[in-house]
């Protein structure tokens, strides 16, 4: 998986930009930490969030995991296929395991994100 075009938050979410739309999911590290995902509460299309808000909950066998949005904006799409196949978050976190898409309202927030190399370094320190 070529992660060069991905950005990461310190809460282990990833961001892939398509113009002003950010596709968001959780990193491989996050899915490993969570364990087997069994349910996901997706955010609602049309809802707006500020950076850091809890916008989704992922239920794994061992715990409930809050997902925080790394960027502010309005939810324009959600991956409804995860309702039937939540395990895609574990199997394919960077692609078919994407969770939601937001229309970014503050592009300055992008500078707070880490690139793939910086995220790797960050993980080493945990």
């Amino acid at each position: 998986m070529d992660l060069k075009t991905y950005k990461f938050s310190k809460d282990h979410e990833w961001v892939k930009l398509e113009d002003d739309i950010a596709i968001i999911g959780v990193s491989d590290y996050a899915q490993k930490e969570m364990g087997d995902v069994v349910y996901i509460e997706l955010p609602e299309k049309g809802n707006s969030f500020s950076k850091g808000d809890t916008c989704s909950n992922i239920e794994s066998v061992k715990a409930v995991n809050d997902i925080f949005t790394p960027l502010s904006g309005e939810v324009v799409d959600v991956n409804t296929s995860l309702e039937d196949t939540p395990e895609n978050i574990n199997k394919d976190p960077y692609d078919s395991g994407w969770i939601f898409k937001i229309k970014i309202s503050d592009s300055a927030e992008l500078t707070d994100l880490l690139d793939a190399d910086q995220y790797e370094e960050y993980l080493k320190g945990i």
């Binding site: 364990g35 087997d36 069994v38 349910y39 509460e41 909950n57 239920e59 794994s60 066998v61 061992k62 409930v64």
Partner: protein, 364 residues
């Protein structure tokens, strides 16, 4: 943190370590669901050395153990084991434990790690009048559990003792890997399996655990941690002290009437339990499933007829059964199979239904 003799093996095998009531133990190795399902289909090995071992010895050992337990100890013979409550005067639980009859003058009590000190103090004060010796020898013992359909196939490679003939809830004193050991056919998973108790140094114990893991590979037996231990026992509806049983719920309310033998003679809590048996219980521990999406977890509020009644005592998404299950105390009138109630999950009322337990039962 305290370390078991197997500690270095956990690091060697890639265990994810946590502080479990003061013990440095693995919550998982390869993953909770993988380990859980491995135990159900092939097998798993667990370090359970944190459990407590208390020995009661003396001419009046039987009388002493009868007095502090709810089950009928006189049904035991050497080599046999039973499960019992360690009741308080109200018929509630100081702990739950296994009693191994070694001889008619010596019994081994295996208790929960979290309650060891409390249990030892309690038992010591209650058996004083019987003039027996009571020794906490937990620090001496390493305990390994091998659980799953292939458990026997693995253990036979490490012992020449006749474990094939060993029946469920029986034990023998023999050798594992040439080390003197108590081998019992017991476990906390709902599968066939063994628990091995032995005294050894760290190197021997760790090497044995690694050796079991190595030889286990061909049989699909993998190291398993505390996370899987908890989901396995819950699927099999085995109670956990602190969650499902405690000092404020009685043996009858906990749906454990089968370990209560009121006719055996006097024991701590007998009067309270006799009274409750005559009057009837007003609440009962039951198993449930959610009928809507969600995962019930310990502490989540439970609503009966729209009112907050109790909390989920244990809950999870069962890895093998692939559904959300849990245990809860409900009012007696609401505890029949099929009864519906609600679990509050993040401010949402999620419907649940009382089901038959155990949720899972092995086929053999």
């Amino acid at each position: 943190m305290k370390k078991t003799t197997i500690n270095s093996a956990h690091y060697h095998l890639g265990g994810k370590m946590i502080d479990f009531f003061g013990w440095d133990l693995p919550v998982q190795y390869s993953g909770l669901s993988e380990e859980h399902n491995s135990v159900r289909t092939t097998g798993g090995i667990f370090d359970v050395s944190h459990m407590g071992e208390i020995f009661i010895k003396g001419d009046s050992a039987l009388d002493a153990v009868q007095y502090i337990t709810s089950n009928n100890i006189s049904k035991l013979k050497p080599g046999k084991i039973l499960y019992t409550a360690l009741p308080n005067e109200n018929g509630c639980f100081v702990d739950d434990m296994l009693v191994y009859m070694i001889t008619d003058k010596e019994y081994l009590l295996v208790v929960n790690a979290a309650n060891l000190e409390k249990d030892f103090k309690w038992i010591s004060s209650k058996v004083e009048r019987f003039g027996v010796s009571i020794k906490n020898r937990s620090d001496e013992y390493t305990q390994i559990a091998i659980q799953g359909p292939n458990a026997e196939k693995l253990l036979t490679q490490f012992t020449s003792d006749k474990i094939t003939d060993l029946k469920y809830y029986y034990f023998l004193v023999g050798k594992v890997s040439n080390i003197d050991a108590i081998i019992s056919r017991t476990g906390y998973t709902g599968e066939d399996g063994f628990e091995i108790y032995f005294q050894s140094d760290e190197k021997t114990a760790s090497d044995l655990f690694i050796d079991l893991a190595e030889k286990g590979k061909d049989l699909g037996i993998i190291p398993a941690g505390l996370g899987a231990r908890d989901t396995l026992r819950l699927e099999s509806k085995m109670s956990l002290y602190g969650n499902d049983i405690d000092d404020s719920h009685t043996i009858l309310e906990a749906d454990l009437g089968w370990i209560l033998k009121l006719k055996k003679g006097d024991f701590i809590g007998r009067d309270s339990l006799l009274k409750q048996k005559e009057e009837g219980i007003s609440r009962k521990l039951v198993g449930f499933e959610l009928t809507e999406k969600g995962v019930p977890r310990h502490g989540y509020k439970v609503f009966v007829d729209g009112k907050h009644y109790s909390e989920v005592t244990s809950g999870t998404f069962a890895p093998f059964l692939r559904k959300p299950i849990g245990l809860v105390y409900l009012p007696l009138g609401h505890s029949d199979i099929g009864s519906k109630f609600h679990v509050e999950i993040r401010e949402k009322q999620v419907e649940a239904m009382v089901v038959e337990t155990p949720f899972y039962k092995r086929s053999s």
